[in-house]
């Protein structure tokens, strides 16, 4: 039953995507550098801080996460040029920075596949990422659903993540760097 339904669902998804209107222009309020409010966010140790830089070029949204460690810890960048409504590849990553306490390392071509779309009158950016990590028992796929949700006042960015491998949701809160 499921096997017969799958092609139909795929066809429906393709038609839906093809008939989808051009993605709306991103809300300019997303632009800028966002700084983690660690008092309201989940712990990011061993990193010391995390910033998200968002820029807009035409229909594209450039999303860059910068993780900074101690003097010994260095820094790590996770960057992707999104075109909402499509699926793109991220820049190759030096490592998987999200959970540095875990023995899990970015594998394959070291990139993520990232689909994205706007929601809530362009006040929310939704991404869905797929990538592969190398772990003790070999390689394992990871899927991450993320919402970047702009506050009504445009001064706060809530980032909520559900990861296929993690039982606990993740919530980061950012404020504008120039606030």
């Amino acid at each position: 039953m499921a096997r017969r339904l799958l092609p139909a669902l795929l066809l429906f998804a393709l038609v839906t995507l093809a008939s989808h209107p051009a993605p709306p222009p991103p809300d300019p309020e997303f632009r800028g550098t966002w700084v983690l409010d660690d008092s309201l966010s989940r712990a990011i140790d061993p990193w010391r801080n995390l910033t998200v830089e968002i820029d807009v070029e035409g229909d594209a949204v450039i999303l860059k996460r910068l993780w900074r460690g101690s003097r010994e810890g260095g820094a790590s960048v996770d960057s992707v040029r999104l075109v909402p409504g499509t699926t793109v590849r991220s820049e190759p990553m030096l490592q998987w920075p999200d959970e540095r306490h875990l023995g899990a390392y970015i594998a394959g071509d070291r990139t993520k596949s990232v689909a994205s779309r706007w929601a809530d009158d362009e006040r929310t950016l939704i991404t869905e990422s797929d990538f592969v990590v190398s772990v003790q028992q070999g390689e394992h796929p990871v899927r991450v659903y993320t919402e970047y949700r702009l506050s009504p006042g445009g001064d706060r960015l809530d980032v909520m993540e559900l990861r296929s491998t993690r039982p606990r949701p993740i919530h980061y809160v950012f404020t504008r760097a120039d606030a």
Binding site: A43, Q95, Q136, G138
Partner: protein, 557 residues
């Protein structure tokens, strides 16, 4: 090679065998003083430095002066060991409470004083070198009257000599003046905290050994200091010990230990290590042998079940962290033994072994006979250092050995993995080890040869990690590694208490089972959930690579 180690190993055997002829340790009288919490240059550091230098001199021939350090001191055992020495080693202490009183008793063992310059912090580090060579105490200008009131004469005056000079210039001068006379078996890096503070707990032992003191940078970007540091380390004899710690203001642990390793030397930390000039005179009690709490026999075969097997190892060695905190003994825990204490502070190590509960399991560390990075050690020296480490594991009844290598980065960013050639050397050099563990933070090197696994840490638990996130971390690892059994090795930062760790592990559910490390390795040997893998060229090297041009920077095979 390694004449020093062999001699010390032999002397340890002699001490043990001669002492065994007596039923009880000899009674000793000694003096104890409590040191305060202020280690600021413009606070109590001058007096503390005077006292620690006096300790190194007073203890040259026998153990006379012991300090109890403040509760916040990095090494937490000084008060407890003070009690232990009285009860077990028949040391009777008389307490004093001032530098005046200390000089009253022990100035007779000094030949004079050296004056350091209050306005040049580095001059105090140079003064420690002079103190060892001239059998002198270190004083600043304000303490000169106290020293002279106790009959001490000026032997060297650093006031004004180094004003306006860089550390490179100061240490160049010191190395030229004193380097020929200082020990080639010990050198002290008086690093750690910086700025207006210094915590020179190890200075007594450096003075006792007439070591050269420095805190030169091992950061290749500090080209002059780096070159001089390399020169100083290169002047040491094979197998020499680098005591102390790197300066937090100048370089990183990884850079420092890499340079030490490139010179085929090893570290013994920290700059705050207390009372070693005293402890080195206290042997183990007559007839004592170090016995570990083994949970399996070397040739035993265990069959795992479909579980997530968890084993916990505390980071950073004995004497730091959770040993004296509540909770020890409540769950299986592995402790990294500072192996050189077996000859450097034997009774101190006996203190730990005697306190161990059945759940406390000792393992050998860290990469060699001391702290070193095997990838940075020249290839022809590595087997010899591993052999010295093996001897220490024999003495201390240690069957598991831990390897760590930050020469290409750290736990946050870098390559902690071992090359196959390095792994080969450990398997060949430690044939009696039942297994090896690797990393600090998680690493990705695995092996299994002749029933002896090498397992890397798969999780690092920092002391600030919230319990709910740590639980989710471990559950996530179990989802990412779906086969059962899964062998999940934890490295627990020493500042975490065992109660905290137990609270986390208790939330994981019945699929998880915490086992002692030797049991863990035996189970993994029977049904490994990993394929052998090593550092290889297709893994990008993301850390600070070996700096070109250093003495030890030789091509790795």
């Amino acid at each position: 090679m390694l004449r020093l180690l062999s001699a010390l190993f032999l002397s340890l055997l002699l001490v043990t065998s001669s002492a065994a002829q007596n039923a009880e340790p000899p009674a000793r009288d000694a003096t104890m003083m409590r040191l305060g919490e202020n280690w600021q240059l413009d606070g109590d550091l001058p007096v503390h430095s005077l006292l620690i230098s006096l300790q190194g001199i007073a203890n040259r021939a026998e153990p006379r002066l012991y300090f109890i350090y403040p509760p916040a001191w990095t090494f937490t055992f000084t008060e407890s060991v003070y009690d232990y020495y009285q009860k077990t080693h028949h040391v009777t202490f008389d307490e004093i409470d001032s530098a005046e009183a200390a000089l009253d008793r022990f100035a007779q063992y000094a030949d004079g004083y050296v004056v350091w310059d209050d306005s040049v912090r580095t001059s105090l580090i140079v003064a420690f070198t002079v103190a060892g060579l001239e059998n002198a105490v270190v004083v600043n200008e304000a303490l000169i009257p106290m020293a002279e009131a106790h009959g001490l004469k000026l032997v060297d005056d650093l006031r004004g000599r180094y004003r306006g000079q860089s550390d490179y210039e100061i240490y160049s001068d010191a190395w030229e003046r004193y380097g020929d006379r200082t020990s080639k078996d010990f050198v002290v890096w008086m690093g750690g905290v910086h700025g207006n503070a210094m915590e020179p707990g190890v200075a007594d032992f450096g003075i006792y050994q007439r070591a050269f003191f420095t805190d030169l940078s091992a950061n290749p970007e500090d080209a002059d200091e780096y070159r001089l540091a390399d020169e100083v380390l290169g002047a040491m004899d094979d197998g020499a010990l680098v005591m102390g710690w790197h300066s937090y203001a100048k370089d990183t642990e990884g850079q420092h230990v890499t340079l030490v390793s490139q010179n085929a030397l090893r570290m013994e930390g920290l700059n705050s290590l207390p009372n070693t000039s005293f402890n080195t005179h206290i042997p183990t009690t007559p007839g004592y042998t170090f016995e570990n709490n083994h949970n399996v026999e070397p040739d035993e075969v265990l069959v795992p079940r479909a579980k997530v097997y968890v084993s916990a190892v505390q980071t950073d060695g004995l004497g730091l962290g959770a040993w004296l905190k509540p909770g020890r003994g409540q769950m299986p825990y592995a402790w990294e033994v500072t192996m050189n204490w077996s000859w450097m502070s034997p009774a101190l190590l006996q203190y730990f072994y005697e306190q161990a509960t059945p759940n406390d399991y000792f393992i050998g560390v860290l990469s060699g006979p001391g702290y070193m990075y095997p990838k940075a050690i020249p290839d022809d020296k590595r087997p010899l250092l591993i052999e010295e480490a093996r001897k220490l594991t024999d003495t201390l009844d240690l069957r598991v050995f831990e390897i760590m290598d930050y020469s290409e980065g750290t736990r946050t960013l870098g390559n902690l993995d071992l090359t196959k050639e390095v792994v080969d050397d450990y398997y060949e050099g430690m044939p009696d080890a039942i297994g090896f563990i690797n990393g600090y933070g998680p690493a990705n090197t695995y092996d299994l040869r002749d029933g002896r696994p090498l397992v890397s840490f798969d999780y690092y638990l920092g002391e600030r990690r919230p319990s709910e996130e740590a639980v989710a971390d471990l559950q996530e690892l179990a989802l990412m590694n779906p086969e059962r059994p899964y062998f999940l090795l934890l490295h627990i930062r020493q500042w975490s208490t065992i109660e905290h760790v137990k609270n986390i592990l208790d939330q994981l559910g019945p699929e998880f089972e915490v086992v002692p490390l030797d049991t863990f390795l035996k189970l993994a040997a029977s049904q490994p959930d990993f394929e052998p893998r090593y550092a290889s060229p297709d893994r990008p090297l993301t850390g600070p690579l070996h700096a070109p041009g250093s003495r030890g920077a030789q091509p790795q095979r």
